[in-house]
Assembly symmetry: C2
Homo-oligomer: 281 residues x 2
Amino acid sequence: MARSYAQAPITTVSAANGIEYAYREVGEGGVPLVLLIHFRGNLDNWDPALVDALAQRRRVIAFDNTGVGGSSGRTPSTITQMAMDAIAFTDALDLVQIDVLGFSLGSFVAQEIALIRPALVRRVVLASSAPQGAPGMHGWAHWVIDAVGEPEIDPARVLDVFYTQSPESRSAGEKAMGRMFTRTELDAPTTWQTRHAQYDAVSAWGVPNFSLLERVTAIQAPVFVANGDNDPMILPRYSHLLAGLIPQARLKIYPDSAHGFLFQHHAEFADDVEAFLTDPR
Amino acid sequence: MARSYAQAPITTVSAANGIEYAYREVGEGGVPLVLLIHFRGNLDNWDPALVDALAQRRRVIAFDNTGVGGSSGRTPSTITQMAMDAIAFTDALDLVQIDVLGFSLGSFVAQEIALIRPALVRRVVLASSAPQGAPGMHGWAHWVIDAVGEPEIDPARVLDVFYTQSPESRSAGEKAMGRMFTRTELDAPTTWQTRHAQYDAVSAWGVPNFSLLERVTAIQAPVFVANGDNDPMILPRYSHLLAGLIPQARLKIYPDSAHGFLFQHHAEFADDVEAFLTDPR
């Protein structure tokens, strides 16, 4: 087993749906924590500093969903299908109970997993998240999708979305990117097909529909909702909305941070996740 | 003009709807701030320490809505009618623009006023509030309505709802009650008819209906949402829900406090309201 996420090799597993899933894991013990990454992200987009902190006392598994990075198949264009595919992956690993940490697009998938197969999910962490049907988020702000949606991804423009304009946040962002991509074995890049399919899925999720806000009230697992106070991609008010809709959710908004708050504040966020996952309540 | 709310006399004004409204006012200047009180409350249920702090730089007006306390008529049993009646009162005073601070039941009325006559309302403060249709609040918890809904109101049981069990919160509550009721000219008590009509209105407001959550997104005025972190009457998660639904809302949750957080933290809350009302944005 790898000691740190930066050294963790890519492993593959064949699932019953015919997909060969690529994943990396670190740590051991406890209920496995499955990570669900953001729009266009692959295994390399998890900050090793965060994953290693999370893996101190538990098994942590990052994977590429269907069609993403090193996994086979075509990326589906609905959050529901992404959730079913993620469940196929956990089934392939014979996981009977998991905690999930979904980030951005991954947090939408995490909600769906908890709704589709509640018995699988013990606890849920939603980072930079929003409930399906929330008003005002459809398709993201123009400058945001322009910054992260181009064929060639410009790291400087990604920094604009993931970090604030403060020197502290920018510096933290540059360090996180450095940690992500200093590994020797990189994952396969995500494709243009993945970009389109994921954007379609996110846009459908963002079509305003107040009656759909009821869906998350069915999540029985304890939920921890977290966001940066200046996230331009998924506004903090959607974290408030989730915390208002889910009866027992806890909420934390991290200061001077944006979409990448969980990498910027990796030590504090990992501590908060650990406290949440081990809370006896 | 009265120097302090504790000395402010009760004045009456005849409105076009035939109701004689009882009110007290203190302070002068600026856009008048109209206060909307809680379930079964009358003019005496505003803590003079809070009202005086709010009135440092502005005219502050507390009034009894139709059928309540010293005002004539029968209390209506819908929030919408209460809002229309409140507008009749402001019309009777020739107010062309107001700020509103609604507390609990009064915060529901404040939302309706902002929706029925948006041009009247410059800024809105919602204290211990919830949007119409929010899940899980219908009729209040049994022990809460038992504590505040009996024919004879027991101050000790009111303290249980308005303040936490901490010595600091209880002591603040006892002091606030002392400040409220040491005046010489007391308002007429609220009646059993008012109790029933207001409870019916609050219960109808709390019938879960996710499609109605959309209503508050039409509020154009800036909104400040505030609550105590342990309010058992209107849970803090409904403040999160409001902050998630209203595009530009600001939110503050006050520590170690319950339904009466605004009296317990009167100096801090008054400062926050002042900052909100004078914010150039």
